[in-house]
């Protein structure tokens, strides 16, 4: 009946390759080729421009409440690119660049936040899940997909995004526990943006890092500078390679910062200081990555201008497509409820149709 210490082997790596000023650690630099390097840059710029446009459109009443990703672009744009077509992406709700990379048209983001279910339909051939609003509720789905891959012996992986706040939910813990037990090819990438609405990271969990939570489930966690696209890329790439070759799950904590509001319905002045935001503004992933790409000779003034122009044009085109497709038939509410409309619902549908007709709703009876 002893009382003794059980030895465990805690290991939480920390990875940073590109510092706040854009200086690179040569030894750790993955030296991605120019195409891939530029692609990550483009994704980040598009995500930023779309973000800005969405905030404007919300202020103008053209979409509803929106949750921005400003400052967090590296965490999703540099991780998603390691996925192959057959891998799955499971979104939280601040990763428009990732969805775009996977083939979701830009306007789906507008559709979702604009109040249209159409923003949740994955494009044909893209096996991703749409935005998930209940926090951490998407993690079990990702775990289940990974389980399916193991069951079918498919050498693929799942990349799942979640917030720091989400790591307090039971769904998060239960999923990671399963992932550890069944050695599932699940990569959970926590976008630790320091705040869950008004609750700071220190009040969310007493553990020093979020990465270390993986240890309790029997696999490794790594913390990376989430504003450093190179570190995010390397950590996710390693995790994906490991997952696809049977090495099991990974937890990646990307330390980043939500520079904007939590959502457009939020007033962060109530809980955080301007100084804190200013401090993080300096660590903005886009300028520092831009500097790195210039040093490597991949980017110059002309190309920067071109990327900006392309992004603005693509976002504008997406807005046009969104606004041109706003006419909806309210009766669609019934359309996808069941494979076949049960009689009681058919009756309600007819009742609804008559009500709309009486009220003079045309097909364009959107909420606008």
């Amino acid at each position: 009946m002893p009382r003794k210490r059980i030895e465990i082997k805690p290991k939480v790596e920390y990875l940073s390759i590109l510092d706040g000023d854009g200086n690179v650690d040569e030894a750790l630099d993955p030296r991605l080729d120019a195409d891939r390097s530029l692609h990550i840059y483009r994704l980040m710029v598009i995500a930023r421009r779309l973000d800005e446009r969405c905030i404007n459109m919300q202020r103008q009443g053209r979409i509803g409440t929106y949750g921005p990703c400003r400052g967090q672009e590296a965490a999703h744009c540099a991780s998603v690119v390691v996925l192959e077509q057959a891998d799955w992406l499971v979104q939280a709700f601040r990763e428009p660049g990732a969805a775009y990379h996977r083939g979701w048209p830009l306007e789906t983001v507008l559709r979702f936040w604009g109040g249209y279910e159409e923003g949740c339909r994955p494009p044909d051939g893209v096996n991703d899940l749409p935005i998930a609003v209940p926090i951490a509720s998407q993690v079990p789905h990702a775990m289940g997909i990974a389980w399916g891959m193991v069951t079918k012996n498919d050498p693929h992986c799942v990349l799942c995004y979640c917030g720091d706040g989400g790591t307090s939910e039971g769904d998060f813990h239960e999923s990671l526990n399963f992932a550890g037990v069944y050695n599932l090819p699940l990569i959970t990438l926590i976008q630790n943006n320091q705040w869950a609405i008004s609750i700071p990271r220190e009040k969310q969990t007493a553990s020093e890092t979020i990465a270390q939570k993986a240890l309790a489930y029997g696999f490794d966690g790594i913390q990376v500078d989430g504003n450093d696209p190179l570190a995010v890329y390397v950590a996710t790439k390693e995790a994906a390679d490991r997952a696809r070759s049977g090495g099991g799950p990974s937890l990646i904590e990307a330390v980043t910062y939500r520079l904007s509001v939590h959502t457009t319905a939020d007033d962060p002045k109530k809980y955080r200081t301007d100084e804190e935001v200013a401090r993080w503004e300096k660590l903005d992933p886009i300028p520092r990555y831009e500097k790195y790409l210039r040093t490597r000779g991949i980017l110059d003034d002309k190309l920067v201008a071109e990327v900006e122009e392309d992004a603005l044009r693509d976002v504008a085109a997406a807005v046009d497509r969104f606004e041109a497709s706003r006419e909806v038939d309210p009766l669609d509410c019934f359309k996808y409820m069941y494979a076949e409309l049960p009689p009681e619902l058919a009756e309600q549908r007819e009742e609804f149709r008559q009500a709309l007709e009486r009220e003079g709703y045309g097909k364009s009876a959107g909420g606008h």
């Binding site: 939910e169 008004s198 009040k203 109530k270 706003r326 409820m337 009742e351």
Partner: protein, 326 residues
């Protein structure tokens, strides 16, 4: 007397309770520094400190589960679910523990807690922020389920809920949060839980409604009076569990006709229960079949379609006219 919005009235009730009783504590996500995403808990952290106004991690299950422990330990916790759409993360606690403690412990322990949450559509919100699922709680034995419709009854019912010895699920119609003001007395007042109110007397038809649907119901009654010279009586349920059968049945016995109105889906909704009770207790007084004007048994649409979807005064008046014309 002050003219208050429902948000201000609820804030007043929480303030009244915290001041009146040291054992009252509030807990939830963002309720402290941020004062609640709808500002229902404004100023309370400043006034009562972190021990009584607790910002919690993002874990609805632990918030309600923790509140159970607090209640067992003699506190009167008021837990906030940021939106009713995220209370399902805590529903196992509600179903498996909150609702059963008194019965399981043969009266030894009750859990006098309140779980507050905003519910309902009409504010152009994101997915999961617009549903009305009061029927789930009304269907769960052991719970009380209260839904105010205006500032004054919101304050009085919340205070009564906090000091009720049993668990109360308190749904706040967020469409009403800031849509109008009402005189609210300075002195704390309570209203009994489980009592409906006749808010408009009438003789031709009974409109049974509650929560956010009270406004369009009142509007429909005005319409019917002006355009059809119909005198509609309106019953505001206020509590959907327990449900005040007596007030409903008394009204229908008088008018002989009824329409029941709610936002939530029709199937197994509160309306079904109201109709059943009328049929059980007043069948022979009925002059026409009862109509239910409710949300449909579809998912609540994203907000582009919600204006078309939500029951409105026209539809309520139309349903009433059909019943009257039977």
């Amino acid at each position: 007397m002050a003219q208050l919005t429902m948000v201000a009235a609820l804030n007043k009730a929480l303030d009244d309770a915290l001041r009146a009783d040291e054992s009252v504590v509030l807990l939830g996500q963002d309720i402290g520094v941020d004062e609640g995403v709808f500002r229902v808990t404004a100023d309370l952290l400043k006034r009562y400190g972190e021990k009584r106004v607790i910002d919690t991690p993002l874990a609805e299950g632990a918030i309600v589960g923790g509140a159970i422990g607090m209640a067992l330990y003699g506190l009167k916790p008021v837990a906030e679910m940021q939106f009713s759409g995220f209370a399902y993360q805590a529903y196992h606690q509600v179903e498996q523990h909150v609702s059963r403690f008194r019965n399981r412990t043969r009266g030894r322990f009750g859990v006098p807690l309140v779980v507050r949450m905003p519910y309902g559509g009409g504010i152009r919100a994101v997915e999961h922020h617009s549903e009305s699922r009061e029927a789930i709680y009304a269907h769960t034995p052991g719970l009380k389920m209260v839904i105010p419709s205006g500032p004054r009854n919101a304050r009085a019912l919340l205070l009564a809920s906090i000091f009720d010895p049993d668990p109360v699920i308190f749904f706040e119609p967020k469409q009403v949060y800031r849509s109008f003001r009402e005189e609210v007395p300075d002195e704390p007042e309570q209203m009994p839980i489980g009592k409906a109110q006749v808010v408009r007397e009438g003789t031709d038809i009974t409109l049974v409604s509650y929560g956010a649907m009270m406004r369009p119901t009142l509007e429909a009654a005005e319409d019917l009076a002006e355009q059809d010279r119909v005198s509609a009586e309106i019953v505001d349920l206020l509590s959907v569990a327990p449900l005040d059968t007596e007030t409903i049945v008394h009204s229908v016995r008088k008018t002989g006709r009824a329409v029941v109105i709610h936002e939530g889906p029709r199937r197994c909704g509160i309306g079904a229960e109201v109709v059943a009770r009328i049929v059980e207790k007043a069948l022979l007084h009925l002059e026409a079949p009862i109509r239910r004007l409710t949300g449909y048994d579809t998912q609540f649409p994203y907000f582009a379609r919600e204006r078309a979807f939500l029951p409105n005064a026209d539809r309520i008046a139309h349903a009433a006219r059909e019943v009257l014309a039977f």
